[in-house]
């Protein structure tokens, strides 16, 4: 089961906290918007990713689980139990 971080580009207002809290996977472009590759998060990164998602003022950062076969649903910074 993979977790991935994804940004909602419409909600994102370039606050930049995600890049501070998950610098291993998120960098900011020259305009302050996050660049995230789509690769799965490592296990130890998931907790930090969730914290970063909670810190985002506009809830633009999502941590999603791959869930075959239905498309993944995003929860704002929370693990699925």
């Amino acid at each position: 089961m993979n977790h991935r971080a994804r940004v909602n580009p419409i909600a994102c207002e370039a606050h930049g906290m995600c890049a501070e809290l998950l610098p291993e996977r998120i960098t900011l472009d020259e305009w302050g918007y996050p660049i995230i590759d789509g690769a799965p998060l490592e296990n130890r990164q998931v907790e930090h990713a969730i914290r970063a998602a909670r810190a985002c003022p506009t809830f633009a950062l999502l941590v999603e689980r791959d869930r075959a076969p239905a498309p993944a649903r995003a929860r704002r910074g929370e693990r699925r139990s």
């Binding site: 580009p9 419409i10 909600a11 207002e13 020259e30 918007y33 506009t58 995003a74």
Partner: protein
């Protein structure tokens, strides 16, 4: 109404070449002006296939038969994405809630006129297709969406709906017409859904996708107007008939909007895979030499003029040229135009059509337009090429919709195809042709600067 690319003056009678191949199909009986009446439409194509009687079980049986038929026909969407229509229908039919059908004739692509043509001249074909699509997914409502500037088309469809009601054809799905703003991105699926739900015509973040939760939170089937027109004929003549034309990977016929320096620019129906030369020939040939052809519209790619004779109009063949059919747009650029200046203007226009919701799109397209215009104006700083490459990677695939991706693709393709002109302009500045009026259409006002969140620094 876009008067740069008028319909041909004489009726589009099929040439001997086309008739031998079983064309026209969609455009059969079309007149240069005025819509086909219900009577004439039925005379040419036959009546709408029966809905299979009452009863939910029969309706479901008929629906699944229809979807299977469409699947066997291999019909792909004609709105630009070439997504298998049957797959889309199955997704909507399988979603929870009563479905709704949207026939997308918004046609924000400036160089495309096929959907407008269908509404204006063949509204009953479109309505037939919408009704059949509704039955295929169990929808009770069909909304035909047209651009607010397409007065003739809107009037034509409205009258066609009244004609049907007067003729007493009590087919179940209710038919409506809706108008959407004249913007490049307004016809994007989630933007359309957002607008029909009372919001702005701006793309939304997905999931949920329209097929799960769209108009009024119901599963929504969004099909291009041409796609449902094909459905209307497949239901009458069958999947094998449909596959008699075109290659196996992309069967059937398609509508192409051919524009540029031609004797008879306009909307043509061709077999998938036919050569671009034969199409140009059918359009009476070019009136000047052609520097390049833009295939696929403003999210498409350029093909050098010298290579046009080898171009076949199917996605399979176009891949080799880095292009795809998109919404069936082929725009020829004459040798008199300055490709560098046209590209600069186009890049600026594409930036103005951003709905300004996503930072990378707003900043990226703006920076790209500026850099391209600087190169075309001979005032680019050193390293402009690398800057373009970097901007392209920062802009593409980082927005909520495909607009930045398409714009980046077009700009990169132009820089590659017109390398010689751009190099010349970078060194020597603007040429004599730079000041000529634009050959490429750029209508639509900039998307309104309302108080949208996002992309605000």
């Amino acid at each position: 109404m876009n008067t740069l690319y008028p319909m041909p003056a004489e009726p589009l009678t099929p040439t001997a070449y086309q008739r031998a191949l079983g064309l026209p199909r969609l455009l059969a009986g079309i007149r240069a002006h005025g819509a086909l009446s219900l009577e004439d439409h039925v005379a040419i194509h036959g009546p709408l296939p029966a809905s299979g009687g009452r009863g939910r079980r029969r309706a479901r049986e008929r629906a699944s038969m229809l979807v299977e038929q469409i699947e066997r026909s291999g019909l792909l969407g004609h709105g630009g994405a070439a997504f298998p229509t049957a797959t889309k229908m199955r997704a909507v039919a399988g979603a929870r809630g009563r479905a709704i059908v949207v026939v997308n004739a918004a046609e924000g692509e400036p160089a495309s006129r096929k959907d407008r043509t269908l509404l204006e001249t063949l509204p009953h074909l479109v309505l037939d297709g919408g009704i059949l699509a509704a039955e295929a997914v169990g929808a009770d409502e069909v909304i035909v969406c047209a651009c607010e500037s397409a007065d003739i088309g809107i009037e034509s469809v409205t009258r066609a709906i009244e004609e049907r009601a007067a003729a007493g054809s009590e087919r179940s799905p209710s038919l409506h017409v809706a108008t959407v703003p004249a913007n490049y991105v307004a016809g994007q699926e989630s933007a359309l859904v957002s607008y029909l739900n009372g919001g702005l015509a701006k793309p939304t973040f997905t999931p949920p996708m329209p097929f799960e939760q769209g108009v009024r939170r119901r599963p929504t089937l969004i099909n291009n107007a041409e796609t449902v027109a094909h459905v209307a004929l497949i239901a009458r003549h069958g999947a094998s008939w449909f596959r008699q034309l075109g290659p196996p990977s992309q069967p059937g016929s398609m509508l192409v909007t051919l524009s540029g320096p031609l004797a008879h620019p306009g909307v043509y129906e061709i077999e998938h895979g036919s050569s671009l030369s034969s199409l140009i020939q059918a359009a009476g040939g070019t009136t000047t030499r052609v520097r390049g052809a833009l295939v696929g519209g403003y999210a498409g790619a350029w093909v050098d003029g010298d290579l046009l004779s080898g171009v076949a109009l199917s996605n399979e063949h176009l891949v080799a040229h880095g292009a795809s059919l998109g919404a069936g747009v082929v725009l020829l650029l004459s040798e008199h135009a300055c490709p560098a200046a046209e590209t600069g203007r186009l890049a600026r226009w594409l930036a103005s059509q951003s709905t300004r919701q996503c930072g990378p799109c707003v900043h990226g397209l703006d920076a790209l337009a500026m850099t391209v215009q600087e190169i075309a104006g001979g005032i680019a700083q050193a390293g402009a090429g690398q800057r373009i490459e970097r901007l392209a990677s920062l802009t593409a695939r980082r927005g909520a919709c495909g607009h930045p991706d398409g714009a980046v693709k077009l700009i990169l393709s132009a820089l590659e195809t017109f390398e010689a002109e751009f190099a010349d302009h970078a060194q020597h500045g603007p040429c004599d042709s730079c000041a000529r009026p634009p050959e490429m259409p750029m209508p639509h006002r900039a998307v309104s600067q309302d108080a949208s969140r996002g992309a605000r620094r």
